[in-house]
């Protein structure tokens, strides 16, 4: 599903990622773990083409990201749900409008959108916030809205950057269950986190990043 070949990403003189080669199978559930500044967010950015790699090749679902045209890019992105570390909610749109966005771009009809959005809002426990604006929500509530938006169109690939950073243990569990459900229905899920506990709880594959390099790929720490 996702393959990277000797990928480098540098910002000026600073190397955020060095020589990243990965092979993530369809339907995997995988963690990217590492300390602050390790390059986790940068790796995800390369995958959803928020940035372009400086060197190397990336294939997603058979598409070479280095060669994709700007015309086809939106269609690739619709297959990928992303939970951004800084949420990236639209402050001037309601929770409903924010979550409905990925469905509206694919021209679903109104009724379907309303049903789907209220379903995911219930999943993250915020069904009573439908018409709030993001700045009026708590940090954890915003994060859950970001997660709801990422999963609402049931993407083939889910990239979640620190999805539980602002959540207490209880909410974290709810969110993880949501991602697991998506996984069970066939999605490839990649979670970037600095949280050792989260990683050690599970049996899934873990990619350890440090200073932009992959350190190891096993499931202990």
């Amino acid at each position: 599903m996702i393959r990277t070949f000797h990928v480098y990403k540098s910002y000026g003189a600073r190397n955020a990622l060095e020589d990243i080669s990965l092979h993530i199978q369809k339907g995997e559930f995988i963690f990217v773990h590492g300390p602050s500044g390790a390059g986790k967010t940068t790796l995800l950015k390369l995958l959803y083409l928020g940035e372009r790699a400086t060197k190397g090749q990336i294939l997603i679902d058979g598409v070479n990201l280095q060669r994709i045209t700007s015309k086809r890019l939106p269609f690739l992105r619709r297959k990928i749900g992303v939970v951004f570390q800084d949420f990236k909610l639209i402050d001037t749109q309601t929770v409903f409008q924010n979550i409905a966005l990925p469905l509206e771009v694919t021209a679903h009809d109104k009724k379907y959108i309303r049903k789907k959005v209220s379903y995911v809002l219930r999943m993250v426990g915020l069904e009573n916030r439908t018409n709030s604006f993001p700045p009026y929500l708590s940090g954890g509530e915003q994060q859950r809205i970001a997660i709801a938006r990422a999963v609402v169109n049931e993407p083939m690939i889910l990239l979640a950057d620190e999805p539980t950073g602002n959540l207490d243990a209880g909410s974290s569990q709810i969110v993880l269950n949501l991602l697991r459900q998506l996984h069970i229905r066939g999605a490839t899920v990649l979670i970037a986190t600095h949280d050792r506990e989260l990683v050690s709880q599970s049996n899934d594959r873990v990619i350890f990043l440090n200073k932009g390099r992959i350190k190891k790929m096993k499931i202990d720490d």
Binding site: S70, F75, R77, F84, I90, T92, A107
Partner: protein, 295 residues
């Protein structure tokens, strides 16, 4: 079905970002107000100057001693010329009377005359469309060829200067109008750029969740058109209020209003201001979106 979605998004966005839209509409309105004010002045001066054009007359002198029959014939002939509007006969006696009244204080001069030395003449006014120099010259030449008409003339020096002034005035008007249009587009697209700058994150987010550029742009186009429409109406409203105040003020002065009748914009020009607003709003959106939608 799609277009209603875009309209919904455009209107939702206006509700969510009232501040930005009010400012944009205000700016468009004010810029168009300048434009409309310019147009109203230009149109009125143009109208005034146009009324001067009606004073263009060719005078065709008649040899002495022709009889009434011949005069009627000549008048008929002259009326038949292309471009001629009205032909009035002025007898020699009438000409002397006019001269006397024109000379006022020096009129006494004429008392010493034994006989009237002035010729009779035809005063020929022209059709409004027939006011360029070449046509007039052509007409004069043709009149001169008539029998019993030794000479025809018109205030050549004066007319030349007037026509040059007229073309100069129109040129200045078009240059200024063009300049204003250009400035209007720039100011409005600057304003729209600033509103998009405030929304640059939103634009980025939409792209990240898979919106195509067209999906993002269309609501902005709709907004640009709406803002232009509203701005145009606002500017016409303000202009009308200002105009009313102005007209009521000048009717208090001693200016000969019957002569200089100030008029509001015609329906066509009002429509033009609104359509211009919409075009500029739309065009401004186009220009600005380019900047903020990166690949």
């Amino acid at each position: 079905m799609r277009i209603s979605v875009f309209f919904k998004r455009a209107l939702q966005d206006i509700r969510n970002n009232r501040f930005l839209h009010v400012i944009t509409v205000g700016t468009i309105g004010l810029v168009l107000l300048i434009w409309a004010t310019f147009i109203i002045i230009f149109a009125n001066v143009n109208y005034l100057v146009g009324s001067w054009q009606e004073d263009i007359r060719i005078v065709a002198y008649v040899v002495k001693g022709v009889d009434q029959e011949r005069i009627d014939l000549l008048q008929k002939q002259l009326r038949g010329f292309y471009g001629v509007n009205e032909v009035v006969f002025v007898s020699a006696d009438e000409a002397l009377l006019r001269l006397r009244s024109q000379m006022r204080h020096q009129g006494g001069v004429l008392d010493g005359l034994r006989e009237n030395p002035l010729p009779a003449s035809f005063e020929i006014s022209l059709n409004p469309f027939f006011h360029d120099q070449k046509s007039i010259n052509g007409l004069v030449d043709r009149i001169r060829e008539l029998k019993d008409i030794p000479d025809a003339q018109y205030g050549q020096a004066w007319l030349n200067r007037f026509l040059v002034f007229l073309s100069f005035f129109k040129m200045a008007g078009f240059i200024l109008g063009g300049l204003l249009l250009f400035i209007a587009i720039f100011i409005i697209s600057n304003t729209i750029k600033l509103t998009l700058y405030a929304k640059r994150e939103e634009l980025e987010i939409m792209q990240l969740v898979g919106a195509t550029k067209l999906f993002i742009k269309i609501p902005f186009y709709i907004q640009g058109l709406l803002q232009g429409l509203l701005g145009g109406l606002v500017s016409l409203g303000i202009l009308y209020v200002l105009f009313s105040v102005f007209v009521s003020r000048i009717s208090l002065t001693e200016l000969p209003l019957t002569y200089f009748h100030v008029r509001f914009l015609s329906k066509d020009l009002m429509a033009m201001v609104v359509v211009l607003g919409m075009l500029v709003g739309w065009f401004g959106s186009c220009l600005s979106l380019k900047k903020f939608l990166k690949v």
